[in-house]
Symmetry: C2
Subunit: 330 residues, 2 copies
C-alpha cells in the first residue's frame, strides 16, 4: 500500500529501470527523439479535484488547462488530446464536451480520441501531446546554474485561497461572476480579491506564450507550479543539482490578497509557498536575461551553489522545507 | 444526459467538426501524418471492467492488453504508454505496477509517464502510442470490398462465458490455475473449457503478430472484436460502405464451449455474436489471400455489396442486428 507519492515514485523508478517508468514522477515526458513529441496526462475527479456542482464546462476547461501548463513548462506547442470519461448516468457529457471543445479550439488542440465508461465517480483523464514550440528546443528542469535569476510567471497562493472560499460555499455559476460564500458579505478590494481567487482556482491560465519565449532562450530551467512553490522549486533544484534563495518580499500578490487570507485565517506566506494548483511557470535564467514585461513575471530570488533551499524574510534567512501537495497522502 | 453511446458519439462528431472529436468513436486515432503515430486510450474500473479482488497484476495486464489489441488492429507496433491511476489508500500500487511493467517489458512498451490521484473507485486509464509495424502502412476499417473473405483471429464468446463464471464465484488467484465456482464441480472437457473461458476473459492475448502480417498485405480491413462480433462487424462494414454474410457454422469454438454455455443457460450463438471483450482481430482480405496457418485464423464469411449484414444458419439466412456492448447503457 502506497502511503506517499515520493516513496512510490522512487520504488517505481527502480522497478521500471530501462522502461521509462521514472517519467511517472515528471509532469511531461519525451517520447523517443525520433518522435519529437512530449506527452503529459492529468486527472480531474469529482470530490478530489473539483466540488460536485461545479459547472462541467469549467471542469473541462480546467482539465485541459492543467495539462497545457505542463506543456508550457516543456516549451511545447499543444497538438493532440485523448480523453477518458468515466461517469455515472447523470453526468451531462454534452455540457462537458462543449466546454472541452471550446477550449481545444482556442488553443489549437485536436481532440483525436477517447474512451467512455460508466462509473459511480466522475473521473476525467486527459492525455495531451505536443511538439516543440521552437524547432529542436525543449525546456526542462535540469538547466539551472548557480547565479541564475529565479523568476515566477504570476502570483501564487490565490488558487488555494479560492479553493478555501469554494469550501465555504462560494461558487462560480456558468455565465456569471464568481459568487462569494453567503456568510461573507465582502465589499470593495476584498470582494474583488475573493472573486479573483475563485477565478484563479477554477480557471487557471496556462502560460504557453511564456513557455515559447523561454524555449527561445539560450538556457532556461522551467517547471510549472502545481503542487506548491516550495515543492516545485525543490524539484527544479534537485533536477539541476543546485540550491536556491527565495526572497519572501518579492513574491507577487494581488491587491487584497493579504486581507483575504487574514479573513480566511490562513497565513498568506503558507498559501504562497505550499498552496499549490497555481499553474504559473517558475524558471531560472542567466541573470543578464531580461524578461519581457508583457509576460508579467517577477524576479523572486536566485539559484545558489549547493543543495540548500533558503527563504529570506524580514526576520532573516531560514530553510525552506520541500513540502506541498502529495497526491497519495490521506 | 447521454443515455446511449452511439447518440453521444454522433453528437460529438458534429460538435467537434474540424477538431478530430469523431475519433472518440474509433479504437485508435492517427496523429497528424508528420507525427506518424497512432494512439489509443482504454479504461479499467473496479466493479465495471473487473471484479473486486481480481489480482491487480491481472488487472494491469488486461489494461495493457485491451490497448494492445487496438494497436494490433491498426497494424501498429506499440511504443509508449502513459498511465493515470486513481485509487483509494488500500490499493496496492506496487502490485499493480509490477504486473504492468512485466507486461510492458514483454511487448517492448516504455511506460513513459503518468499521474497518480486518490479516488474511492480504482480507475486505471492507459494511453498507448504506436508506430507503423510496416513502414508507411496503417490498417483501418475502411478497406473492405465486396467479394472479400471475412476472417476471425480466434474464438469469440469464450470471454463472455468466462465473465459469467466469474460472476458465479470463479476466480483466478495469482500464480495458480483458474478456480471454478464452488457450486460447479465440473470435470474433464467441461472443466477445461471453463478454465479456458476464465483465462480468455482475464488474460486476453492481443494479436500483434497477426496485425503486423495484415499490415504487410496489399489491402486489408481490420477491427478488433471488443464490443461483440456483430457490432464490430457492423462498424467495419459501415466504415467500408459494404455488407457482410457470416456463416454461423464457421464460427470457431473450443472443445466444450457448447456444453459450457448450456450449463450457463446461455445461447452459445448469442455469446459468440454479442458477448464482447474477445480481443481477436476481425478482418477482410481479397479472397485469393491465404492466411498463414500459424495465426490460427478461421474464414467466417464474405463481404457483400449493399449494407446488409446477414447470418447464414442451418435454418436459412437472417438479418444480423448490430447489437453489442454500449459503454453508456444502464
Amino acid at each position: 500500500v502506497a502511503r506517499s507519492e515520493p516513496a512510490l515514485l522512487a520504488w517505481l523508478a527502480r522497478a521500471a529501470r530501462g522502461l521509462g517508468g521514472e517519467g511517472l514522477g515528471d509532469d511531461t515526458v519525451h517520447l523517443a527523439a525520433q518522435a519529437g513529441l512530449v506527452a503529459t496526462v492529468d486527472t480531474q475527479i469529482e470530490n478530489v479535484h473539483y466540488r460536485p456542482g461545479t459547472p462541467l464546462e469549467r471542469v473541462a476547461r480546467r482539465l485541459l488547462a492543467v495539462n497545457l501548463s505542463d506543456l508550457a513548462a516543456a516549451g511545447a506547442r499543444p497538438r493532440w488530446a485523448l480523453l477518458s470519461v468515466s461517469a455515472p448516468a447523470s453526468f451531462d457529457h454534452r455540457r462537458f464536451f462543449r466546454g472541452l471543445l471550446a477550449t481545444c479550439r482556442s488553443v489549437g488542440v485536436h481532440l483525436v480520441g477517447g474512451d467512455l465508461a460508466r462509473s459511480t465517480v466522475p473521473t476525467l483523464v486527459l492525455t495531451l501531446l505536443g511538439e516543440p514550440a521552437v524547432a529542436g528546443r525543449w525546456l526542462g528542469r535540469r538547466a539551472a546554474r548557480p547565479g541564475d535569476a529565479l523568476w515566477l510567471g504570476g502570483t501564487v497562493g490565490e488558487s488555494a485561497a479560492g479553493q478555501a472560499l469554494l469550501a465555504l460555499g462560494a461558487s462560480w455559476p456558468a455565465g456569471r461572476a464568481p459568487q462569494l460564500p453567503p456568510s461573507w458579505p465582502l465589499r470593495g478590494t476584498l470582494a474583488r480579491a475573493a472573486r479573483q481567487a475563485i477565478r484563479r482556482h477554477l480557471d487557471p491560465q496556462p502560460q504557453l506564450a511564456l513557455g515559447t519565449w523561454l524555449a527561445g532562450q539560450e538556457r532556461a530551467a522551467t517547471i510549472d507550479v502545481s503542487d506548491g512553490l516550495a515543492l516545485d522549486l525543490a524539484r527544479l533544484c534537485a533536477a539541476s543539482g543546485v540550491g536556491a534563495r527565495l526572497e519572501a518580499a518579492a513574491l507577487p500578490a494581488s491587491p487584497g490578497f493579504a486581507e483575504l487570507t487574514s479573513r480566511l485565517e490562513r497565513s498568506p506566506r503558507a498559501l504562497q509557498l505550499t498552496g499549490g494548483e497555481d499553474y504559473v511557470l517558475l524558471f531560472a535564467v542567466p541573470p543578464e536575461v531580461s524578461v519581457p514585461a508583457d509576460h508579467d513575471c517577477r524576479r523572486i530570488g536566485s539559484i545558489t551553489k549547493g543543495k540548500r533551499l533558503e527563504l529570506v524574510t524580514e526576520e532573516g534567512i531560514e530553510g525552506l522545507p520541500a513540502v506541498g501537495w502529495d497526491h497519495l497522502a490521506r
